[in-house]
Structures are given as C-alpha cells and as structure tokens.
Amino acid sequence: MRTIKKTIMINQTKLVIEPGRAEKNYFADLWRYRELFYILSWRDISTRYKQTFIGILWALIRPFLTMVVFTVVFGKLAKLPSDGGAPYAIMVYAALLPWQFFSSSLTEASNSLVGNAQLITKVYFPRMIIPTSSIITCFVDFLISFAILVMVMAYYRFMPTLNIFLLPVFLLMAFAASLGLGLYITSLNVKYRDFRYVIPFVVQFGLYISPVGFSSSIIPEQYRLLYCLNPMVAVIDGFRWAIIGNTTFIYWPGFILSMAVTFFFVLLGIKKFRSMEKSFADII
C-alpha cells in the first residue's frame, strides 16, 4: 500500500515556486481551476437574484427607461434618422443592450478584485477568474433585458431577419472589449484605491461618444474611421445589423479597426493583469 502511494508521488509533477515562476503554467492552471470559475459565477448570480426581487426588476427597468428617454430626446425632439427604417425605439434598444452589458461588466470587473480581497489573501487560484466571472453575472442581466427587446419588437410587429443568428459573434466582441478594459482597470484599482471614482465617469462619457442614442451613420464620412477607434462602435453597429437586418450596413474599414482596437485592449489588459497579479495578495 505504502509503496503504491510512493510510486504515485514520484509520477506527480513537481511544483516549483521561485520568483517570476508563476508565468509558466498559468494557462494550464486557469483550465484546471475552471470549476472554481463556474462556481464563483454561480455564486454571484445566485446571491444577486436571491437577495431581492428588485435584482431582476432593476435589470429590466434601467434599459427600458433609458430607451424611452433616448427615443424621445433623439428620435422625437432632435428628429435624428433611424437605421434602415426601423422604429427608433428598436434601434436605440439594439444598441442599449450591448452598451449596458459593456458598462456594467466594466464596472463589476473593475471592483471585483477589491471586493474579493478576502479570497485573494487566503487562497491561491489564477486571479483572472474573478473579473471574468463577474462579467458572467452581467451576461445574465443581459439575457433578462433581452426579454424587453422581444417585447418591444412584438409591440412594433417587427420581424428580425436571419442575421440575428450572428448576434453571438458581436456579443463575444462586447465580452472581449469589457474583459480587456476590465482587466486593465481592475489591476489599477487594486493599486490605486481611488481609481474607482474614475470608472463611473468613463462609463458615463462612453455612453455619449458611442452611437447608443443615435445611428453611427450620422457621423460625417471623414471622421467615421476615427470614430471607430471606440471598440463599442463596431459592437453596436453589429448588434443593429443583426437585429434590424440588412437594410442597415456595416462600415467595414471601421469595423475591422474596432476589432483591432478590441484585440489590442484584450492583450494589454491580460499583460497588465498578469504583471500585477503576483503582487495582489501583498497590496490588496
């Protein structure tokens, strides 16, 4: 019995801890800890919706009211044109969905590490699990607010085209954009604890420079490419294309630029996070 155990021990891989070593098997570790990722996401979701009925209601009310206000202000008062003849409310809501997902993901991910300080100082696991799982919670909110879109579309008797099946692709882009920025900001947030005051401002500001309340087609042609430096532009355009249909069109050079910017932010976020991750337990 004892010898069998010993043989098993010898076959086991050796764990080596030394300065800077954590790099090597990081992504293998991330995979090994996938169950923790599921369960942390589940914890966040279940506590969020368990505590209050308001949790679900909030996910419904917020985008709905924003949609009403934007439709009235931009569509009725400013009389901005809608995309492809779709009702203004649908056009606004098709953009609000990814925007709300992006902004709440960014906010949640940025605060996630500080909020889980107790875990970080007491147990080892790849830290990237925490901000990523907090984005999953926002995804559930996204699904709930999606129900409103269905209702609004039913109200206007608006039939989506087959394009809607490509929606997950754009959702993935929104996920990538929020993860990249979220990782970057959460690392800074651990180090500079007053950084969190900057985040609501960024989110607020982003709402107005992204084409949420209006169509991106009203941007003058010569600034269009510059405008697409905002990664959410491609995501929102993509959402509108998928939901409203072929009558809207995607501005391809801008779309590719947006994708590139998103990709850049993901790499930057991961790099920053990885470089600071080792010191989280010491400074949090």
Binding site: I17, Q51, K122, Y124, A281, I284
Partner: protein
C-alpha cells in the same frame, strides 16, 4: 551530479524542499497608508516636478525601505511528517505558509513541492452569508481546490462531521458562530491532498470542537501518510500533533528538529521575562518609609522554563529608611495578564530600620498556564505604606498532556492538583 542529487531526493521522500527562501516587502516612508491613492501619486509627481523647476539640485527624500519578512529559509520536509511552525507574531510563519500555498511569491529562493497542496489559512474562506449550508459546502470546497465530484462523494461525511444536518438548507447567516465554524472546518478537514498547510485555525470554535478537529487531523496524517505543516500559538496542540518543529525568529530559522526540543527552545528564548529587578538606593522604587532594593523569582528546578508543575520562590529585598517606621505585615498579590487578582497571601512581621528580605513560595501544580504579574504591599496595620505594583512579570507554560485527549486551554484561574479519591462501591 545534479540529476543524481535530484533522484536521491525523490527516493528519500522529500516533499517540500526549500532553498534560501526570502520575502521582502517595501515600506515607503512617505506613504504610510496601506495602499496608494492615485490622487497622492499625481500630487507628488507635480510637487516633485515643481521642486525641480525651482531648485535643479532638488533631492528626492522619499526613501523606500525593504523589510524582510523571511530571510534565507531552507528546510526539507519528508512525506508523512507533521511539522509545527512556531515563533512570535511577525516571525514570518504566515508569510512562509503564504509562499508555500502560492498566494504570494517569494522575492528570493526556491521551493520544490511534490504532490497536491491544500492550504487552510482561515476557516470558511469565501463563505457567503446568503447561501445555504449546502451551497456553501460546494462553494468553499471549490475555493479550497476540491472538484465538484470529490465534494459530492464526501458530502455526507462533511455534513455528519459538522453536525448541521437540520440546517443544510438554511442560509449560513442564520447559523450560530459555532455551527458556522464547524461547517467550515468540516469542509477543510475532508480535503484530499498530499500536503496540508494549516494556519492557526484552531483559535476559533469551542473546546470540544477543537479537540475533534485535532483528532481528525491526526487521523488523516497517520492513516494516509499525509504531510502537514501546522502554525499555531497553542503549544499543547502543536506538541501533541507534530513530530518535528521549525522555530522562526525575525524571518529566519532559529531552530529545527524534534518538536519538544524546539518548543523548549522557544520558551526559554522568548519567555525569560522579568525574573530579576534590581535597583540602587537612588533609583529604587518606594517612598520615605520603604525602598525596594531587589525583587526576584527563582524557579525551584533545573529547567529555566516555568511550566505548570514548577514550584516558584518570590523574594523582595527592601530598606526601611527611617527609625519611626515599622512594618507589621507584607502581602503578595498575584494577578493575571488581564489584571484580575488570582490570590493574595500575607505574612506578619515587625521590621524597623534596616535591610530585609522576604520570600514566599508558590507551589508547583497550582498555577494555570498564563502570564502573571506580582504586586507587593508593605503595611502598617491597615495602612498601606507602599504598594510595589507589577514588579515581576512571568509566564507559566503548559505541559504536554498525554492522558487526557483534550488539548484546548485549561479552564480556571488556577490549576491545583488536589487529592481525589475514586473507588468502586458495588457492581452495577
């Protein structure tokens, strides 16, 4: 040569091999806060830039100091060994466990670990008050590194150990603190890992449960040949659970070896409290009537460490400086560290001008393990002429208890060994 060396290590079952491990924290003198604020960083940059503009020879005064929580720590731990890590607060015990469990990375050195490591640095890490007991078992298990399948397999065992069957579907925020700790420890106790790192978790929970936990840890390590590293301030628990010890002092290894030797070493280095206090006539505490020359305490045994069995002798030497003063009685009062009086003991005398010595004996097997302070009262009838307060501080240590399985703190202000008579009266 190197490969051969490594092969040898595996053969001899070394599961943790640490070489020159060190961990430095930087302390910046300008920022005393725990974490930096962006506001301050920006403000400082502007301030420094401004100072440079005004004075090109400006020197940056913000010195950064390194504090080494661990320094050159090297040791080997073999499979199945139970090692107690002891030392004062700040000696580096927790930092060592944090490095071994990969929570923080070392600044220097290297550790090789063979086998799966589970660390229990706190009871109930990640418990969520809104979730039920059942949900928290799965959550906490996953956080400690168990797979869901593993938890499912052990679920009933965990629940039985924690004794919370009826409350499984109650949110843990409604649990009593005892139930909470029991559930948390139960999950941790069922971790299946080759190496278990435990930090001071027995400081919580009631005595009976502590005993159960220690018993569980003992079972686990003897039956399945697991390696345990155990940090605690409870020497009794450490001595009964561990076979080897590592004594840390200021980040370095002070002593390593057999647990009893290491614990004795710890006591004799750390707790030789104020057993002698001596003054000359100018600085002597006292007043016009009485001046104390010297107080001292001798353990009436060879061992320099005072434990609960050691008889003690406390002596005060004092001058009576004036002809008119007479002392009719001297009283010694013993207080515990909280300042509560344990007892007072008085002797009658008639001392006039001169130098005196008064000694009182405290028998062995009488005091409990605690830190005590001594007061001397010099009295003339009912009047206190001089109260010499807290003149000695000493620590009484516990001894390993073999016969009783109980390892928690012995209750009571004193622990006298009294005569018992236990006899059988009749067959039942």
């Amino acid at each position: 040569m190197m490969a051969c060396y490594k092969g040898f290590l595996i053969m001899s079952d070394v599961v943790i091999q640490s070489d020159g491990l060190g961990k430095a924290y930087t302390i910046s003198h300008q920022h005393r806060e725990r974490y930096t604020a962006l506001r301050d960083v920006l403000a400082n940059r502007v301030k420094k830039a401004w100072s440079r503009i005004r004075n090109p020879h400006y020197y940056d005064h913000d010195t950064v100091e390194e504090f080494w929580a661990l320094k050159k720590v090297s040791f080997e731990i073999k499979q199945g060994e139970r090692v107690g890590i002891i030392g004062r607060n700040g000696a580096g015990k927790s930092t060592l466990l944090k490095i071994l469990s990969r929570i923080t990375e070392p600044t220097t050195g290297r550790v090789e670990i063979t086998g799966r490591v589970a660390s229990l640095l706190e009871v109930g890490t990640g418990f969520h008050p809104e979730l039920t007991g059942r949900e928290n078992i799965f959550l906490n298990g996953a956080i400690l590194g168990m797979s869901q399948a593993e938890i499912k397999k052990k679920f009933d065992e965990i629940v039985a150990f924690a004794e919370v069957e009826q409350f499984l579907d109650t949110p843990v925020k409604r649990y009593s603190s005892g139930m909470y700790v029991r559930l948390a420890f139960a999950v941790a106790a069922h971790l299946e890992s080759e190496i278990l790192l435990v930090d001071e978790v027995l400081a919580v929970g009631d005595a009976a449960f502590q005993k159960k936990c220690l018993g569980k840890m003992q079972d686990v390590s003897t039956q399945s040949d697991r390696t345990i590293l155990f940090v605690s301030h409870n020497m009794t628990a450490i001595q009964s659970l561990c076979s080897k010890g590592i004594l840390l002092k200021k980040g370095g290894i002070q002593k390593m070896g057999d647990i009893d030797t290491v614990v004795n070493d710890y006591f004799s280095h750390e707790f030789l409290c104020q057993l002698v206090n001596e003054w000359n006539l100018d600085t002597a505490p006292g007043n016009d009537a009485v001046r104390v020359k010297k107080v001292h305490m001798l353990p009436e045994s060879e061992d320099p460490v005072i434990n609960v069995t050691t008889p003690l002798k406390v002596t005060t030497e004092f001058w009576i400086c004036q002809d008119s003063v007479t002392i009719t009685s001297i009283s010694m009062a013993l207080k515990n560290i909280k300042g509560e009086y344990i007892f007072a003991c008085v002797t009658e005398c008639s001392c006039t001008k001169g130098l005196y010595s008064a000694a009182v004996e405290i028998p062995g097997n009488f005091l409990n393990d605690d830190t005590y302070t001594i007061d001397f009262y010099f009295l003339k009838e009912a009047t206190v002429l001089f109260l010499h307060q807290d003149c000695l501080v000493f620590q009484v240590n516990d001894i390993p208890r073999v016969s009783t399985g109980y390892l928690g703190k012995w209750v009571g202000a004193v622990r006298p060994t009294l005569h018992w008579d236990c006899s059988r009266l009749a067959d039942a």
